[in-house]
Symmetry: C2
Subunit: 213 residues, 2 copies
Amino acid sequence: MSAIRLLVLGAVRMHGRAHGYQVRNDLEYWGAHEWSHAKPGSIYHALKQMAKQGLLHAHEIAPSTAGGPPRTEYEITEQGTEEYFRLLREALVTYDQHGDVKTAAVGFIVDLPRAEAVALLKERTLRIEQWRASVLKDYVPEEGTAGLGHIGEIMNMWVHTADSEAEWTRGLIRRIEGGAYTFADEGEPFVGVLAEGEENPYATGERHPGDAH
Amino acid sequence: MSAIRLLVLGAVRMHGRAHGYQVRNDLEYWGAHEWSHAKPGSIYHALKQMAKQGLLHAHEIAPSTAGGPPRTEYEITEQGTEEYFRLLREALVTYDQHGDVKTAAVGFIVDLPRAEAVALLKERTLRIEQWRASVLKDYVPEEGTAGLGHIGEIMNMWVHTADSEAEWTRGLIRRIEGGAYTFADEGEPFVGVLAEGEENPYATGERHPGDAH
DNA sequence: CCCTCGCTAGTCAAACTTGACTACAGGCTC
DNA sequence: GAGCCTGTAGTCAAGTTTGACTAGCGAGGG
C-alpha cells in the first residue's frame, strides 16, 4: 500500500469538502510532499480514482474564485470513511518497510478511540516479533549467520531494525495508555488542516528533512 | 529510486549473460520477490528499458531449450556497469525510508573495494546525523514537541529510527574495518546466483519473512 | 497601459508496477 | 493416448507515479 490514498482520504475527511488544490496544500503543510512522495499528479489521480470507486463524491464546481481552471470539490462517502479506517488500521498494524505509511498512520491515529489505538499498536508489536522470528527461522541456518558471509549482515540489519521498531512502538503504547493526547472518543478533535484562505507557514522554499531523497 | 534496477543490473552482471527468467529466478533465490516487490512484469520491463537506454545489450536468441517462448539474453554494457556502481553507491550513502534499496545495497556491497565501502558507510552515518538535526531544527519548535500534540510522535519516531540506523551502520563499519568478508579487491569474489540448471532451494512454497505485506 | 511574476488549479505523456494471463514441452496417470 | 499438472519464458491491460507543462487572474513596476 502506498500512503497516498490514506493521506488524501484523511485530508478530505478533515475538511468535510475539499477540492484538489486544498488537499495538495494540506499535504504540503504536513510536509508529506517530502516524507511521502505525494506529487500533484498522484493526488489528483487518487481523487479521481477514488471518486470512480465510490469512496469520494465529486461535485462539479464553477470556475475557481481565484483564476485557473474550474475545480471539483470532493466529499468523503460512507464507503470512503470505511476505507479510510480500514487503511488506517492496516497501516498501524502491519510491519513493512514503508516509512511514509507509518508516518501518515501516526498522524491520523487520534481518529481512532484510544483503546483501539492501543490494541492495534500491541498487535503491531506482536507482528514485529513474529516477523523477527521468521527471519531467524527461514533465512539463518542453525550454525548462525557466519556461513552466509556478508549476506548475514542483511538479516542482522533486519533484526536490528525490527527491534528498534518494536521498542518505539512500546514507548508509544506506554504514552497513550498513560493518557497522552486527545482521541476520537474524547473532547475536541485535533484539527490539522488549513482553513480556506489560511496561509501555510511552511509554504516557503525552506529546507526540510526528507529533501535528501 | 526503486530497488529493481539495482537488483536486475546486479544479477545480470554476476551471470555475465542472462535471460529474463534467469534474473527472475535469482531474485526469487535472494528472496527479493518478498522484501522488495519485484514481480515478473517489473523485471522484464526493467530489462527492456535498460536495454533501450544502452545499459544492457540484448541478444535475440532462438526458442528456448525447454518450452516456452523465445528468450532474449542480456549482457551488461560498460555504461550499465557504471550505472550499477552509481546506484550502489547512492543506495549505500543516502538515508531514506526504502528498506528494499538498503537490503539490495548490502547484498552487493562486496562488489566495491573495502576502503570505499567503509567510506560510503561513514558518509551514510554523517547524512543520517544531518537528517536527524534538520528534523529537530525544522519541525520541532523551541519549546519541544509538547505543543505539537500527537504530531510530536512523528518526529520522535523519525529520530528514534535515525538513531537506530546510525547505530547499525556504525556496527557494520566496525566489522568491515575489522577485516570481515571478502571485497572486490581481495581474492575469490562472492557468487550469489544460481548456475544454469541449478536448483533453487528456496523455490518451494515455503513461508518467508516479508510475506506479511 | 502593458508586461512580467507569482499564485491558483489542474492536465498530460511517459515511465513504472501489478496481477492475471498465454503458450509450449515433458512427464505422469488413468 | 487424453487429460492434466508442473516448469519455462514471457506478455498484456489496468492502475499508479513522475516531472514537466498549461492557463487564468491579480499585483506591481515602469
